[in-house]
Symmetry: C2
Subunit: 335 residues, 2 copies
Amino acid sequence: MAATIKDIKNETGLGLATISKYLNGGNVRAENRKKIEEAVRKLDYHPNETARSLVTRRTRTIGFVVNLIASNFSGVLLQHASAYLHSRGYGMMICDSNHDEKQEEENIRFCVEKQVDGILLISVSRNPECLSLAEKAGIPVVLLDREIKSDAFDCVTIDNKNAAERAAAYLISRGHRKIAVIHSEEYTGHERCRGFRSAMKKAGITVPAQYVYSGEYHSSELGYDSMKELLKLPDRPTAVLTSNYEVSLGVIMAIHESGIRCPEDISLIGFDELILPMVMRPKLTLIAQPMEEIVSEGARILLKRIEEGRDFPPQRVSLYAALKEGESVRDLTVR
Amino acid sequence: MAATIKDIKNETGLGLATISKYLNGGNVRAENRKKIEEAVRKLDYHPNETARSLVTRRTRTIGFVVNLIASNFSGVLLQHASAYLHSRGYGMMICDSNHDEKQEEENIRFCVEKQVDGILLISVSRNPECLSLAEKAGIPVVLLDREIKSDAFDCVTIDNKNAAERAAAYLISRGHRKIAVIHSEEYTGHERCRGFRSAMKKAGITVPAQYVYSGEYHSSELGYDSMKELLKLPDRPTAVLTSNYEVSLGVIMAIHESGIRCPEDISLIGFDELILPMVMRPKLTLIAQPMEEIVSEGARILLKRIEEGRDFPPQRVSLYAALKEGESVRDLTVR
DNA sequence: CTGTTAGCGCTTTCAA
DNA sequence: TTGAAAGCGCTAACAG
């Protein structure tokens, strides 16, 4: 049986309140402090967080509902979140939505019932409906990486459209005109495709339909298959923009297999600086999302809502994602 | 303010105990049941799990302490764990050890203080010391994927040595004699290297020192750099065994870059059926760990310890990992 | 600064 | 089957 605060009381002869106060950082006479510390050590006392939660109405636990935990991208986000939250005394309860809207709603419910203090969400649904439960329970939610159709929630993303636009503009500035895009069928994928189209339009370049591929999210098969198709085209693109990590992976495999060279025969630009771009040669030119910042900004806002009483309007943070030059884009303007 | 059981009492006029009993699946008069159900709906009542935990001394939360959450391998394990635990009403609090022993110990402490009902651990340390805290608190721990130097804990792994031995034997049976190994510096890596050596010894083949590479865990750089070195050797190996996913990734990149072909010029065999082997061509021949089974077995044992009072001796489960043939190994016995 | 007291919301005897 | 009452371990007024 674990020691309770009562045992400390019996050991020291002090009152419960005094002990509790000291344990929570209050001021106590030096003499009593020593007594308490000694008793704590002697009895190996650890406060019962459950009891504490019951009265403070705080569990010091954050629910992290993640679209697809098995993906490399969420793994990195989770890593940063775990570090950030732990350093502030918060636990992180994670729920995998496995890329399924029903599951996501179920996860929100689960978090609410477990009475987490707040929720970090990488959503699969764009529908704010699924958050109504959390809202009703007064549990703050911060969206990470993906927006939903509502501006009632805090949200930290990068400007996907703008980032993709810059990526495309970069290709264009290197003399590319025949540019293909392969993107996933979800929020970020669509935004990035929009940015791509916008840049092309500005440059007065028409994008032929056969240069645009899209499909299920997080599918490296999408990248692989699409690239194979692109390579069969009589009028092959000189460059390809991929909308996420998994797609890039598939594209690279297809290229390697075909024996064509990057960047000599085809140029590549992608998203996300994860493990692959770091090890592959030529180094992939890419848009690097500030993963750690996305999480720390989001968590900071969430904890602020939790810990500071006063209300403030929903925060919409849009972080800058830098283009990191590698060697995967050929400059067609020099020869 | 959320509704409490007291509100249900006022609404129905029944006693607290009756309501509580019904809510926990007890028998109540049909008439009363209707009353309660109605009140629950009307007041949108949800039991306060914290209060419940305080008296039952169960949080219905499992701590998952993971060596390195950002790795693809743990991501998949986590995915299965989340599904398994949720379906049984358990939450999963995850703590990333970030490949650091100090952090791991800190994480165990954290879980204990959060009073999780049990801990699932993919350990970085091989020292059982770090688990003493959990042991003292009477919190059961189940080790996943990696053993530690103690047989006092439940543990679910694959037989790494044997699996690597079969992988090496497979290469040998295909006529390979000059086989290199690249392995990580941690438990599974060492076990797999041992298995490799054992197979080679049985076949009467000496392994030259320059065919053995090892380095930090989860480093695709290890694979990349080692492979580069191997390719420089005057007497190049005909096959390479890699001890984990990240290493395989690096090796493949190095091969692609060098312009040599797999399996024509060099054969490859690896571990773990994750995203890469599924998309790459030639399909990688590999040892596929039963990821889902590792988790479900481990979680099953853990919940059994938690939910059934009686004690039982530590379970040591060693799962079979099948060799899946791809096209990355050349058969040298035919020509 | 200290201690008494009254809960937090729920489960669980135990007697009716 | 039901309900009154006694906690679970802790915090927070409040009075001293």
